[in-house]
């Protein structure tokens, strides 16, 4: 547990009560200096992919164009994740300050915040805040007396997980189906309406605002070598005290986060496994969670930190039922552009539904084969990660699943 939170804290809702320390500082710095500060902090993207934020801003800044866009990705949809909602409901000023700071750094004149359509409360709060910030001259022309002008507009998603993928999100804002785009060109080069576009997650941008306000060295002093600073984790599942917690990277193991922050497993039951980063990530058996919570340690353990969703799963659940649940998620949410992702996830769901008392090794192999095909053919991260959960369960709980060799007939 952190002694003092960096990102979480009291509600910050009213621009009249807020000093905008990051903006005031940033406007007195050159763009390169702001970018250097973020680079020095070691901040990585919190949307799932972990791309270094300073580098992303630098690439955005270097793009030559009369028009650039800054987009805040608030489409949070990975099952188990609710930290961006926490920030929008409790710290929305930080979110928008982060957007403006980033826009200043990359020199974008226009921006969007794309909030998933089901987040009615977040939408209400951000909508009102944007209005108020125009009134207080913190959005629009010559923000806070600087010569930087920036416009921010809210767009509501309409119920499609895949729109969280940045290229799908761009298509969605452009009024197309929210299917992903072929990369390259990357959004940084050719994004929204063909213009250079920087997309960052809500938590990334809020952290960036705090980093500029407090200085990079404070942030980079926290965490491990490859995972600087703090992270919001979302605890859910069979946990006594679920919720959003801010942790310092590497200061606690996953086990400790579950025990110290989440107060252990519900109903005195035993933990079986942990989903460490949302349903797109491979599970870790309870024997594998004594590792520091960092990007690198999770990767070494064969999984990933993903969106920061930690789902604890007790012994009493039926593994096939859980695999079916995750399989249905990907079957429902595939955008359908890549045939293997669309059909493969459906076929895997069929095999899982057929499962009765035993699984044959052949069926396991088919799932693995189809999964590998999906991964190789997938245009976006949804397909690439759609089998992580299922494969890891089949790998780790082969005996419980009763996966047996079935004699050829």
């Amino acid at each position: 547990m952190l002694e003092e939170n960096f990102l979480m804290g009291e509600q910050l809702l009213d621009p009249a009560d807020y000093d905008f320390p990051a903006l005031k500082k940033a406007f007195n710095m050159d763009r390169e200096e702001v970018i250097q500060e973020i680079k020095d902090s070691g901040l990585k993207g919190r949307g799932g992919a972990g791309f270094p934020t300073g580098l992303k801003w630098e690439l955005g800044y270097k793009e030559k164009s009369d028009e650039k866009y800054m987009i805040c990705n608030a489409d949070e949809g990975e099952p188990g994740t609710f930290k961006d909602r926490y920030l929008m409901e409790n710290r929305p000023l930080l979110v928008i300050e982060g957007i403006i700071t980033a826009a200043y750094a990359v020199n974008a004149q226009k921006g969007f915040i794309y909030i998933r359509g089901e987040y009615f409360d977040s939408i209400k709060i951000i909508d009102k805040l944007i209005d108020n910030m125009y009134k207080e001259d913190v959005l629009g022309q010559d923000i806070l007396g600087s010569d930087f002008s920036f416009d921010l507009r809210l767009v509501k998603g309409a119920g499609a997980y895949v729109c969280g993928d940045e290229t799908s999100l761009l298509n969605s804002i452009e009024g197309k189906r929210g299917a992903s785009r072929i990369k390259p060109p990357y959004p940084i080069q050719k994004g929204l309406f063909e213009q250079p576009t920087v997309v960052n997650n809500v938590e990334t941008l809020s952290s960036a605002a705090r980093i500029i306000a407090e200085g990079a060295s404070l942030y980079s002093a926290m965490g491990s070598k490859n995972s600087r600073g703090t992270k919001l984790v979302c605890l859910s599942g069979d946990i006594n005290e679920p919720g959003v917690y801010e942790v310092e990277f590497g200061a606690q193991t996953i086990k400790e986060i579950i025990e110290q922050d989440g107060k252990g497993i519900k109903g005195g039951s035993d933990l079986r496994f942990v989903v460490p980063g949302g349903v797109s990530t491979a599970v870790l058996d309870k024997s594998e969670i004594d590792i520091p919570y960092t990007y690198e340690d999770l990767e070494k353990a064969g999984s990933s930190l993903g969106s920061g969703a930690i789902i604890a799963v007790g012994q009493e659940h039926d593994l096939v039922d859980l695999m079916l649940n995750v399989s249905r998620f990907f079957m429902d949410e595939t955008c359908g552009t890549c045939f293997p992702c669309r059909e493969g996830n459906r076929q895997i769901n069929r095999i899982l539904r057929k499962y009765k008392a035993t699984f044959s090794i052949q069926e396991k192999e088919i799932i693995q084969d189809v999964g590998e095909t999906i991964r190789l053919a997938a245009r976006c991260g949804l397909g690439q990660s759609s089998l992580n959960f299922i494969n890891s369960i089949m790998e780790k709980y082969e005996d419980e699943l009763g996966i047996k060799e079935v004699l050829e007939v």
């Binding site: 994740t81 767009v155 997980y161 197309k176 599942g237 946990i239 679920p242 969703a309 649940n325």
Partner: protein
């Protein structure tokens, strides 16, 4: 002089998604004549526009019930027994996922994660969120929908 609205600043992109939300909000679905209007306004073939509308689960081309009930069955809620909740709601409303009751009062949607995973199981009734639900609580909420 400082300009204070996005419109003043020449924010001229017409966002189709925004228009669709507005229409959906006024009619509870996207009626055909509005689709015709949009097709003209955005210079899009109607088929393509339908393709966009159908892509998003929150847009409907048929009227929904007065109350849209969204019940999350993604992993965290599932672990917290959303299945039982769902079955009881299904039984009470006597409709399946995606259907509307005959009296046009309720539409039931089994949905993926609503972002309240720490407080599951979760149900939304239009834009109202209910957390930590037991089947009994959920049925009471539905009975209070008039």
């Amino acid at each position: 002089m400082a300009q204070n609205t996005a419109e003043d600043m020449g924010y001229n992109e017409e966002i189709l998604l925004e228009k669709l939300h507005n229409i959906q909000e006024s009619y509870s679905y996207i009626p055909e004549n509005e689709i015709d209007n949009l097709a003209q306004k955005f210079d899009m073939p109607r088929a393509k526009l339908y393709g966009v509308i159908k892509f998003y689960s929150m847009f409907y081309t048929e009227p929904t019930g007065k109350y849209v009930i969204r019940v999350c069955d993604s992993l965290s809620c599932h672990i917290n027994n959303s299945k039982k909740l769902l079955n009881d709601i299904r039984e009470y409303l006597d409709i399946d996922d995606g259907e509307t009751t005959e009296d046009k009062k309720f539409t039931l949607e089994v949905v993926e994660c609503l972002g309240y995973c720490g407080e599951g199981p979760v149900m939304m009734v239009n834009d109202e969120v209910y957390t930590h639900l037991t089947p009994g609580m959920a049925l009471k909420i539905l009975k209070n929908c008039v």
